[in-house]
Each structure stands twice: as structure tokens, then as C-alpha cells.
Symmetry: C2
Subunit: 257 residues, 2 copies
Amino acid sequence: MLQGPDELRAAVDDYLARLSLAPDLGRLQESMRYALESGGKRVRPVLCLAVSEAAGGEVEHVLPAAAAVELVHTFSLVHDDLPALDDDDERRGRPSAHVAFGEGVALLAGDALLAEALRLALTYDDQGVARELTEATLGMIGGQFRDITGDDADLAAVERLKTGKLLAAAVGLGLRAARVPEDEQGPWRTFGDELGLLYQIVDDILDGDGFAERLGMEGARRLADEAAANAHERLAAIPFDTSVLRGLVDELAVRTG
Amino acid sequence: MLQGPDELRAAVDDYLARLSLAPDLGRLQESMRYALESGGKRVRPVLCLAVSEAAGGEVEHVLPAAAAVELVHTFSLVHDDLPALDDDDERRGRPSAHVAFGEGVALLAGDALLAEALRLALTYDDQGVARELTEATLGMIGGQFRDITGDDADLAAVERLKTGKLLAAAVGLGLRAARVPEDEQGPWRTFGDELGLLYQIVDDILDGDGFAERLGMEGARRLADEAAANAHERLAAIPFDTSVLRGLVDELAVRTG
């Protein structure tokens, strides 16, 4: 019996709450935990767990990889919120890390979250876990750079890096943890790409920029429906019970925050 | 025939100049290369290469690990120089990365340097390379945190984290790349610890703080001579040609910058 999104989310929250961080970090851990416990929807780790479970993996075995993806995501939020980048004082209704702990501490907390993510990824015998996470992180940083410098005329390409890479890695790490052979990963990964696109379009609809700006709200909504339909089509071609993933697609398609 | 420190330094500089960074990073690479090419003494990678060569390793094989240590060091300098931490406008006589490229770009460049360091470490079959580098990075970040918050009364402990961990990792990665069995690494690693202490005392003598403040200049100088003598003693107990490492100890003991 597969676990539903809410159960998977609870498993992620529980794992993160119990996660031991490097003792050398001392009280820097407080700011890291503050950022980690900010009550997000855990989209990436839940996706990672759901893919892994659908592919026959054990939730216990994939949790460290799922958490690693969430730590990379959290590192990027902490650094993005800094005055040097987006200068956001709030994150999900609470003071951002740099407002709560000071800029210097938030900077170091972000650095440490990235390093801890790699430490988690390195607990697997399969070095591909850490490699894939590192590559995705580099892509994400490249997307952030293009975003702040306007260094790329192609908005879709920027967003594919900024958010798509890490979502795709969530799928990839789920497959690796479930030990799906590389030559059978194709359909799953294509699904991950469609889901990343869906996520981005809905983001833009909520923010009123990007795709929504370019295509208008209705056009963007149509594109989102199309991406959701494509994601479902990809799932239909996978000979496993993908019911939980279908639910995730629908959740992401209609999310409001 | 072992290569001397200058040859090893040239090998490091050459390797770093040719290093390919993730294409996804786009023009962020420029700021990363700027920071990497700041003309430092390459103490950590040269130490890594010298240890590996003395232990029977091939320079070609250890270069990625040595470069990874230097990338972690450079990441920490770029972030340390930011206004949120030390707010240093200059680094080795040139504008710091954030002065040359802006704060946001420097922040992302530091993040990317850390991720690239891990990518290099992950090119080895021995996952211990990436693990040791990650652990050292976490220790270093913990030391920086204690340094800015004054969160630790024990100055020596802070410095052991802040600079000692990465120097020790340089030794450790050199041993791993040379495939020295773990049960034969002890004497080398003890040497690394002594060298880290020496490095730190000389740093404090040059900056007039830390050990120099506590023991006075003469006292600190005596302690440095003692640490150098201890490092030589450790080397004498290692049944390999450690002549290049002896030269490095003497170089570090009398360095003026």
C-alpha cells in the first residue's frame, strides 16, 4: 500500500526534525533549523519519496536523499532572501533568516545547509546520488545568476535551470534510491521535466509574471492544463502504480501558494 | 624524483586555469575564475600534492582533489569578504569579488565554488574524498560562525575549526588519492595537525592577534618554532622521502604574508 502525499509530507517533516547536523556547527544549527522548519509544502522531497515508492523503493531508504534535496532548496531560499539578492524580509509569514539571525549568520547558515545536503547524499553507496544533486545545484545557481543579471533572453531557459533542475533531481534521486536501472529511468525523468514545467507555469500564474505576463492569465492557465495532461500521459506509460504521483500532479496544478 | 613546492604550485595554477566549470553557470564563471586567480600561495593544494607524492601517489591523480580543497578555500574567502561578514574591499591587492562583480554575484559565485569543489571531489571512486572534504567544510563554517558571534571562549578551538580543518583535509585527501591504507594514515594526519597549528600561530603573528595577543610576539614566535619542530619530528617518523614536506614546513614557519 503506497503512502499518500500527506503521509509522505509527515515523514519528511519528521525526518528533518530529527536530522542531526554536524556538531562542529555549534549554535549555527539554530538558524539552519529555523530555515528548515519554515512550514513549506515539501514539494521536492515528497516528489522524491513518491517516485521512489512507486518504483518499488523503501521510504526509509530514500528519506536522506529526499531531505538532501530539501536542504539544497532551503539553502537557496536563505541566500535568495538576503539583501544582496531579493532582499525579502519575510518568508512564509515569518521573518527571513537574516532578519531573525543577522545577515552574516544567514549567509553561513545557507552555506552549511548546502554542505549538509551533500553530506546526506554521500551516505549512499551510489555516488550518483551526490553527483546528481551537485549538478542540479550548479544548474540552479546558474539560473539564479541569469535571473539577477538578466543574462539570458530566454525566460523559459532561466526557469528550467532555477526551479526545473532541482525538481528533476528530486525525481532522479528517487529513482536512484529505488535502484531503478538507468536504461529504465527515461519515462520517469520525462515525467519529472513535465512536472517542472507545470510547477513553473503555476508559479508564474500566482506571481503574475513570466508565462502569465507573456501569454496572459488564460493562455498560461491553458498551458498549465496542457503540462498537467502531459505529466499524466507520461505516468500512464509507466507500468507501476503511479496513483500517488497522479495526485501530486493535480495538487500542483491547482495550488494557490 | 619528487617535485618541489614551486613546481607543485605551477601544476595547481595550471590545473585551475584549465578547469572546466559547469556550463549551466554561464557568465557566473567569470567571477569564479576572478576569485580563483587571485594569486594566493596555494598552501592547501600544494600540501595535498606534496603529501600524495611523498606517499607514492601520482600528481595527475591527486590534482582534482587538491583543486577541490582550493575551491573550498576560495569559496570561504569570497563569502568572508562580503559586507555581511568581514566587509573587506580588497583581497591580495585587488578588489574583492563583490566589489568587482556586485554582492549578489559574489554570493552566488561563492555558492558555486563550493558546489564545484564537491563535483571535483566526486570524480574519485573513493567516496571518502568527497566525505572528508564535506566534513572539513562544515567544520570551517562552524569556525567562521564562532568567530563572528564570539560563541566560543576558546580561541584555539575556533581557529582549529576555521583554518585547521581544511589544512587537515588537504593532508587527508592527499593520502586518499595516494591510496594510503587508513591504518597507516595516523602519522601523516598528526603531521597535518601540527602544520595547521603552525600555520595559525604564524597567521596570528602577522596579524598581531590571537596567539600573538595572548602570548606576546616573542612567546608566539617560540610557540611557532615549537610547532615547526614538532611537525619535523612527525615527518621524521614517516618512512618515506618527506623532503618536500620539510621544505613546506620551513616555508610556512617564516612566511611573511
